[in-house]
């Protein structure tokens, strides 16, 4: 076997292994609040929807936005977010918060607001009022 080829193969194997290890470490799993409470680290992703029966507002004192979110299992928890309310918040049909559980509050460091209409509105039109 030519040395350059051997070198290449070893390089590719090493590269692939490194990438896959790093990739597996940089992803995590979507969970609900109860599972989140048992996990450590501040990279926990919880999926859910805004619980709009409870207050949501930005506090000028603590500079955090707080709201209640209902996860996919139906648990509702208070969530704090260290920035003003994101765009599209009310319209989101899904919210992903990233952070950690502290007692009964989920302290998020990041939030993804998933809207069907960001580019393409496939929501069923509300025809009831017409």
């Amino acid at each position: 076997m030519r040395p350059r080829l051997l070198f290449g193969i070893i390089g590719i194997i090493a590269f692939t292994t490194l990438v896959m290890i790093n990739f597996s470490q940089s992803i995590s799993s979507y969970v609900d609040f109860e599972q989140a409470a048992t996990l450590s680290g501040d990279n926990i992703h919880v999926v859910g929807t805004w619980d709009n029966s409870r207050p949501a507002q930005f506090s000028n004192e603590t500079m955090t936005f707080s709201f209640y979110m209902k996860d996919e299992a139906g648990n509702s928890r208070r969530v704090t977010y260290p920035r003003p309310k994101p765009n599209n918040f009310e319209q989101a049909d899904q919210i992903v918060v990233i952070g950690e559980m502290r007692g009964e509050t989920f302290v998020s460091r990041d939030m993804l607001v998933k809207c069907p209409s960001k580019y393409n509105d496939a929501t069923t039109p509300d025809l009831s009022g017409m």
Binding site: V19, N22, F23, S26, N60, P82, R83, Q91, L127, S128
Partner: protein, 866 residues
């Protein structure tokens, strides 16, 4: 009626595309002018039908025919004409149509300009992609199965036959559409999508050429014709990526120009593979090697476009992208499209693999072909890493259930070392490209750029206090690449500027690299108090009420009107005014914020806007969006927006008052609101006593218990405070009874304290916020009669973003370099064709390039002393 016509036109276009592909196949297989003429005619027909259908769709949009799902979903009658025009491609079906139309234009150019040897097979593959794309929008009726794909001419009634409105009245036509998403109402939507689809369409050409070369077993000449197209596709993708990034940065408040979002990656990866392909083709052109790599990269660039289209449009990215499409039932379609394009590419490659030319001897490491090939391989690896990250919803399942997308850190960590390698290699390769070097002469040629880059890097490191070793090496590689390629460009510019395209792109890339580093030094601009707080947070010294450590710094500052605050230790920032201008949208507000640079004494005004997204919101929950303002500087930008303000709060309150049914929904529930409304003044009053406040006297006469029947559901008990408010000046008095209701849900008790309007004052309110039974006092919160004017404030979110202009400069140089290269390669190809017509085609294996002397007659003087 028009819908049926459009439906029919698209179905006919679909059928024409199938037949065109078939006749191109026959033309390629059997030859014959006649087959090709029929195929061309069918291809024109396909284009004409598609154009006609698009025209109809535009007509439907402009005439507001809301009975059509697409028109209903993306437009409304108040839209300006430019946005009605853009609405044509604002949805998934329309954007596919735009892609098909772009491909049609590219097809016309191929028919006109491609040499007859490749024309028919290339057009066959172009036609095949058209069949797939058209099948997704044709709505072609298949008996016993339904319509094929999602036609843009679907009616609302057919889309939702179960809706009660349509069961009562099948001919129901909504009076108004749901409107174009407010975020898309920006001039950038006019230009960004067409450029990207033109890039997608052009990237089909190298794919088609590579497959045609495998089919016709002419493995060499295709690159000459495909090279300008690949360069063109890359120029389009780059321009589109730039436009998207700029749009995100200046108006969408995504916080930057790049976020490694899957939709962004979807155009980046084909661009990277296109780059790898261009390099492989150039090696093949110069050295008659790397035939396999040229073909593989040309196939990969297009397959990744289709793959990423699949990821973003099939709904599979659902959770992980802030802006992916929702599945329109095209999942299987897209999957099939992707599998077929990939299978044809891989299958044909394997079938012909043994036949593909091999280089006669291995190239030494210090040769331009080896270095360039390694460069192409590194680009390929970068592309693979990004694909891996983007594919996490699929590939992440190898490791966890329900995988999330990777941290952005994953992409950053991998692109950084690859960036360093690419930066260093561009210089070495360029030096080898223009002159033969041995190790010694190369080393001596590299002394100048190495020295220059070291000096500049050390100076920069000391200047900005950089303490990350990886950043230092990265910066060195970037500066090294700028200087090294710069030297080549200067020498080349004197002798043969037409050929400087490649060098300019390398300089552009190097500048871009340096610019990217700026993102590591983004910094929120806050006042000194917040900065101290953030420092304490970073040191882990801050805990919240529950004793948990706080690790989020505060990134914005509250500023009161006409009360300047020193921000970032350098700017005296004054909130001058806020007004509702309604400039571009109903309810739009503009803020005037003055910055005074205390170091230079210069002042400037920034005008961010905030607007309610009325067309996207339900009346009760209006969402607000910010539109930042950016002050561009040579080395750093100031990026700022208003994250909240007293004016927004007042507007929200006003909208809620005007929608009383929604009044109870958000704002009225819970105690937090009471604690944090900065415009309220609180006071305590004992039962039976009177207090004076802001020119009024307020007496609390007694409690009135609310009858259970009047209480909202879930409440435990409710009382009213019987108040009498007297204007101390006029003696006029009013009675008011604000309510305090204790309610509970599953696990918590909370108070509801709805605001009562003060009848004698605009926007004046009183709320009954607390009961103190021990002292027999109640707490009241007033708005409007605290004696002081209402506080005017904004939440300022400002960020210091270094080197953004450098990123743009690098991008422009890349675009310019691509353009120069396209012109040169196109002219070169024309000259080559002319030469062939006069002197006959070159030898079969196309080895016209191995030694320098034979090539010079085509390409002109080659060596540049570097």
């Amino acid at each position: 009626m028009i819908g049926t016509l459009g439906h029919a036109a698209l179905s006919l276009a679909f059928v024409s595309a199938i037949f065109a592909t078939w006749f191109y196949y026959r033309a390629a297989q059997q030859g014959g002018e006649k087959n090709e003429a029929i195929a061309n005619a069918l291809f024109f027909l396909k284009g004409a039908f598609t154009l006609f259908a698009s025209g109809l769709l535009v007509y439907l949009i402009f005439s507001h025919q809301f009975q059509y799902y697409y028109v209903y979903n993306y437009t409304s009658s108040d839209l300006q004409n430019v946005y009605l025009w853009a609405a044509f491609y604002s949805g998934q079906e329309g954007s596919l149509l735009l892609w098909i139309l772009s491909s049609f234009l590219v097809g016309l150019a191929i028919i006109k300009w491609t040499s007859p040897i490749y024309r028919a097979p290339v057009m066959m593959f172009m036609g095949l992609t058209q069949v797939f794309l058209l099948s997704m929008v044709s709505g072609f009726p298949i008996p016993g199965w339904g319509d094929l794909g999602a036609s843009p001419f679907r009616t609302l009634a057919s889309e939702m036959p179960d809706a009660p409105v349509f069961q009562q009245n099948p001919d129901f036509v909504p009076a108004e559409g749901s409107g174009l998403n407010d975020l898309l109402r920006s001039p950038w939507i006019i230009i960004h999508p067409p450029v990207i689809f033109l890039g997608f369409a052009m990237m089909t050409v190298p794919y088609a050429f590579a497959l045609a070369s495998l089919w016709k077993r002419k493995y060499h000449e295709w690159i000459h014709a495909a090279l300008p197209w690949t360069l063109g596709a890359n120029l389009c993708l780059l321009t589109a990526i730039f436009l998207g990034g700029y749009w995100a940065y200046v108006t969408l408040s995504f916080g930057g120009y790049w976020a490694w979002d899957p939709v962004e990656n979807a155009s980046l990866v084909p661009w990277i593979f296109g780059m790898a392909g261009i390099h492989a083709m150039l090696i093949q052109k110069k050295h008659a090697s790397s035939h396999k790599a040229s073909i593989i990269f040309a196939i990969l660039a297009y397959v990744t476009i289709v793959y990423q289209t699949f990821l973003t449009r099939s709904g599979i990215l659902g959770d992980s992208s802030v802006h992916s499409f929702v599945d329109l039932g095209l999942y299987n379609h897209l999957l099939l499209f992707m599998l077929v394009t990939a299978a044809i590419g891989v299958g044909m490659l394997i079938y012909r693999y043994r036949e593909l030319p091999e280089p006669k001897k291995e190239s030494p490491v210090l040769s331009r072909e080896f270095m360039m090939f390694s460069g192409a391989m590194i680009l390929f690896l970068v592309g693979l890493v990004i694909i891996l990250g983007t594919s996490s919803p699929v590939l992440g399942r190898l490791f966890v259930d329900n995988p999330t997308p990777p941290d952005q850190q994953f992409y950053n960590n991998w692109t950084l070392p690859f960036g360093i390698l690419i930066g260093l290699m561009t210089v070495v390769t360029q030096y080898l490209w223009w002159k033969r070097h041995d190790a010694e002469s190369l080393a001596s040629a590299l002394i100048a750029p190495t020295l220059g880059a070291s000096v500049i890097t050390i100076a920069a490191v000391m200047l900005v206090n950089m303490n990350n070793l990886a950043y230092m090496i990265y910066l060195f590689a970037g500066v090294f690449a700028v200087i090294g390629n710069g030297i080549v460009m200067i020498k080349l510019g004197r002798r043969n500027p037409r050929r400087a395209g490649g060098t300019i792109t390398h300089i552009g890339f190097a500048i871009l690299m340096i610019g990217f580093l700026g993102a590591a030094f983004d910094r929120p601009m806050v006042d000194s108090q917040t900065r101290e707080y953030n420092r304490a947070v970073a040191a882990g010294q801050v805990t919240d009420d529950d004793g948990f450590r706080v690790n989020q710094p505060i990134e914005f500052v509250e500023i009161e009107k006409d009360r300047p605050k020193l921000i970032d230790g350098r700017y005296m920032v004054t909130f001058k005014s806020a007004e509702i201008t309604e400039d571009n949208r109903p309810g739009e507000q503009e803020y005037e914020v003055q910055f005074e640079d205390v170091e230079s004494g210069r002042t400037f005004v920034m005008r961010p806007t905030v607007y309610p997204m009325l067309s996207n919101s339900s009346p009760g929950a209006v969402e607000w969006t910010v539109d930042p303002d950016v002050r561009t500087g040579w080395f750093r930008d100031i990026f700022m927006y208003v994250a909240g303000s007293s004016l927004v709060d007042r507007e929200i309150a006003r909208m809620e008052r005007e929608n009383p049914s929604q009044f109870q929904s958000v704002d009225q529930l819970g105690p937090q609101m009471a604690d944090h409304d900065p415009d309220e003044t609180k006071t305590r009053v004992r039962r039976g006593s009177t207090i004076d406040m802001g020119g009024y006297s307020i007496s609390f006469r007694n409690f009135i218990y609310i009858d259970e029947a009047e209480l909202p559901e879930g409440s435990i008990i409710g009382v009213k405070a019987d108040l009498e408010i007297t204007d101390s000046a006029s003696g006029e008095s009013w009675e008011l009874q604000p309510r305090y209701i204790l309610a509970s849900d599953d696990d918590a008790q909370y108070a509801i304290n709805p605001a009562e309007e003060l009848p004698f004052m605009d926007e004046g309110m009183v709320r009954f916020t607390e009961i103190h039974p021990d002292s027999d006092e109640i707490e009241l919160a007033f708005r409007g009669i605290d004696g002081e004017p209402e506080r005017e404030w904004i939440l300022l979110a400002a960020e210091h973003k270094p080197m953004i202009s450098v990123v743009w400069l690098g991008t422009f140089l890349l675009m310019f370099g691509f353009s120069v290269a396209i012109i040169y390669r196109w002219a070169d190809q024309k000259k080559r064709e002319k030469h062939e017509n006069e002197f006959g085609p070159p030898s079969e294996n196309g080895n016209d390039t191995d030694d320098l002397s034979s090539k010079n007659k085509i390409e002109g003087k080659d060596e540049v002393p570097v």
